[in-house]
């Protein structure tokens, strides 16, 4: 900022000097048409004035330069001082920022670690819960499957038992029927045989009187057994 102020001052002084020189040159040209005498006096005056002015201007420029250099040196000093302070400040800020950053990083790291830890714990819990759920579900499924198998086995056993019982009863009945049929055949055969033998033997042996006696005996038995009551 100081540097820009000095530059502006030098520029203004330069412009002022140029304007002064220009005016003097203009006046000199105007006085060119006067008498030689007057001209010589005027020229001399002008030359003196110009010389004076030039010297004044040089002094002014020197002063200005001196002031500018002074200002510049001051500005440089200030700048150096500011730069040092800035550097220091920057250093301090950097340190502070670095510290803060480190702290923040540390906090963040801690927080992140904590979150990770929590997440890990939570995940583990979730996983454990899931494992437990899976275990429970699996156990339940196994139990259901076992029950279903037991039911199916029981039903199958009952059906097989019923079938066996049914077949057994059918076979038993079939055997009984066959046995009965065979016995009837045997009985029938034996009775037929007996009948033939009786006809052969008794037919010849029983005469009419004996037949009549048998009939009377039958009637007597019928009376005894209450047939005629």
């Amino acid at each position: 900022m100081i540097f820009f102020d000095l530059v502006a001052t030098i520029l203004i002084l330069s412009i002022t000097l140029i304007v002064v020189v220009h005016n003097l040159s203009h006046n000199a040209k105007k006085n060119t048409g006067k008498t030689d005498t007057e001209s010589d006096d005027d020229i001399k005056k002008s030359t003196d004035l110009l010389s004076q002015t030039r010297q004044k201007a040089i002094r002014l420029i020197d002063d200005a330069n001196s002031q500018a250099l002074d200002i510049i040196s001051k500005a440089n000093l200030t700048t150096d001082t500011a730069s040092e302070a800035f550097k220091q400040e920057m250093s301090d800020i950097s340190s502070s920022q670095l510290k803060d950053f480190k702290k923040t990083t540390s906090d963040f790291t801690k927080a992140y670690s904590q979150v990770l830890q929590d997440l890990k714990i939570k995940n583990m819990e979730t996983f454990q819960n899931i494992s437990k759920d899976i275990e429970l579900n699996t156990m339940e499924e196994i139990k259901n499957f076992k029950n279903s198998m037991e039911r199916l086995t029981t039903v199958s056993q009952d059906e097989v038992k019923k079938k066996i019982d049914s077949d057994y009863e059918a076979s038993k009945k079939e055997i009984e029927d066959h046995k009965k049929e065979e016995l009837q055949k045997i009985d029938s055969g034996i009775y037929e045989l007996l009948e033939k033998i009786s006809k052969l033997i008794l037919g010849k042996a029983l005469n009419l009187s004996e037949q009549e006696d048998l009939i009377e005996k039958s009637l007597e038995e019928a009376k005894k057994e209450g047939v005629f009551k």
Binding site: I190, L194, K199, L202, L214, E216, S218, L219, A222, F228
Partner: protein
């Protein structure tokens, strides 16, 4: 006409089988038809249209009881009473091994009369398988006293005893 059962006794006791009763009933029906349809005929003429045996028995009944056989009303009453009594006969059914002759039927009928009384007639059926004796049926009761049955019972007993 007397309603005394004794009047009919000889005739009733002479009927021994269902076959005889059926025949006699049929004869009576014929006699009644002949007797009442042909008014010009006498009862004696009518009796000639039925079997001589029954005609003779009826004539004897009238004679024995001093009844006028030409009394149409008495004769008609006689026939009606006779039919009513015949319906009261009780039937003893016998299944026999042979077809009995008249003599055997008489013997069996007499035996029945002896053991259970009068008023019974025999319904005889023949089955050779009976072998001997009789199967007796009376008033819905059935008893097998045949020789065949006795042989079967004996045989079953032997089988059960394992002999």
């Amino acid at each position: 006409m007397k309603n005394d059962v004794l009047v009919y006794y000889d005739l009733m006791t002479s009927l021994k089988t269902t076959r005889e009763v059926e025949n006699f009933t049929s004869e009576i029906d014929n006699l009644k038809l002949t007797f009442f349809d042909c008014k010009g005929k006498s009862i004696k003429d009518g009796l000639c249209t039925i079997s001589s045996g029954y005609a003779e028995k009826i004539a004897q009944i009238f004679k024995k009881n001093n009844l006028d056989i030409n009394d149409k009303d008495a004769f008609s009453s006689f026939l009606e009473t006779l039919k009513g009594l015949i319906k009261k006969f009780k039937v003893v059914k016998l299944v026999l091994a042979f077809d009995p002759a008249e003599k055997t039927i008489t013997r069996i009928h007499n035996f029945v009369k002896e053991i259970i009384g009068i008023g019974y007639i025999l319904d005889i059926e023949v089955s050779r398988n009976v072998l001997g004796g009789a199967i007796v049926e009376f008033d819905g009761k059935y008893k097998d006293f045949s020789l065949r049955k006795k042989i079967e019972d004996t045989f079953k007993t032997k089988i059960n005893l394992g002999i």
